[in-house]
Subunit: 138 residues, 2 copies
DNA sequence: GTATATGCAAACCGTTTGCATGGCT
DNA sequence: AGCCATGCAAACGGTTTGCATATAC
């Protein structure tokens, strides 16, 4: 009888029909291995993989993050013109952006209440509403 | 007796103690000459100046936009990872981002009502809250 | 005259791509 | 076997910078 054990990370990849290659498993484990949400840049994830002793090229990190986003497993967040952030939390929620160290964290979506939103102009519909709360350390 | 005429554009520069050089006057006129708000990228402003027959280098457009932002005359808006947008409307207000043609327009701030905002985490204070409403043409 | 702005081209940095190699099914 | 993923290095696009020249005050 075949063992049917599939951990969280394996399932995460399988749910998007992405082959569980060594590199993808490495990155996916770093991203969702512990079930927590994470915000990374290509560089930070590359560094994390390198520090973990895993060999992945930076181009593959970029390609993989893009693949994860295309597959709906992650979301790309635009907060800083100079680099891209990727979020494992794909639900609609606001973000804290720490201006001092250019870090991104989640804000609880229940704590944000938008009572009224501008109407979409003629011929357009709202695709999404991005809320970024910029923080300064006191 | 000296003529004291100072038009809107001249005053705009003067209010920020910026020397009214030919290039700055050219760009400032394109930006606020008619009193309307405008959203530009370095490239779009450079093109506008070129089409108007004015000679300004692209590097100067970048430097000038940065100078205008540093002086508090404009605001840089982050909506698209790949380029920077600059807004002549420095008041706090939400933006529409047209995903189809990567264009930025203002949304009326009176139409946005945020009833509740997440508390800033320990040791931090809210610097600003950016709201970007992404639009898709229907 | 002196400080500052400009132009140019080269440097920069994050990201993407082409192509040859290697791995998954 | 066949398709897809990977790695590398080169290309890319937006932005910045160093330095010589020109301009405002």
């Amino acid at each position: 009888m075949t063992e049917m054990v599939t951990d969280h990370t394996t399932q995460w990849l399988a749910s998007a029909d992405l082959r569980p290659t060594r590199q993808r498993m490495t990155l996916a484990t770093l991203l969702v291995g512990d079930g927590k949400n994470r915000h990374v840049t290509a560089e930070s994830l590359y560094d994390a993989a390198s520090k973990a002793g895993e060999k992945v090229s930076l181009a593959t990190v970029y390609n993989t993050l893009k693949a994860f986003c295309d597959a709906g497993l992650m979301r790309e967040i635009t907060v800083d013109g100079s680099k891209s952030y990727f979020d494992t939390n794909i639900s609609d929620h606001p973000h804290f952006f720490w201006e001092d160290d250019h870090t991104l964290t989640d804000a609880a979506s229940e704590q944000l209440e938008i009572a009224r939103l501008p109407d979409a102009p003629e011929g357009a519909e709202i695709a999404s509403v991005d809320v970024v709360i910029r923080l300064r350390r006191t």
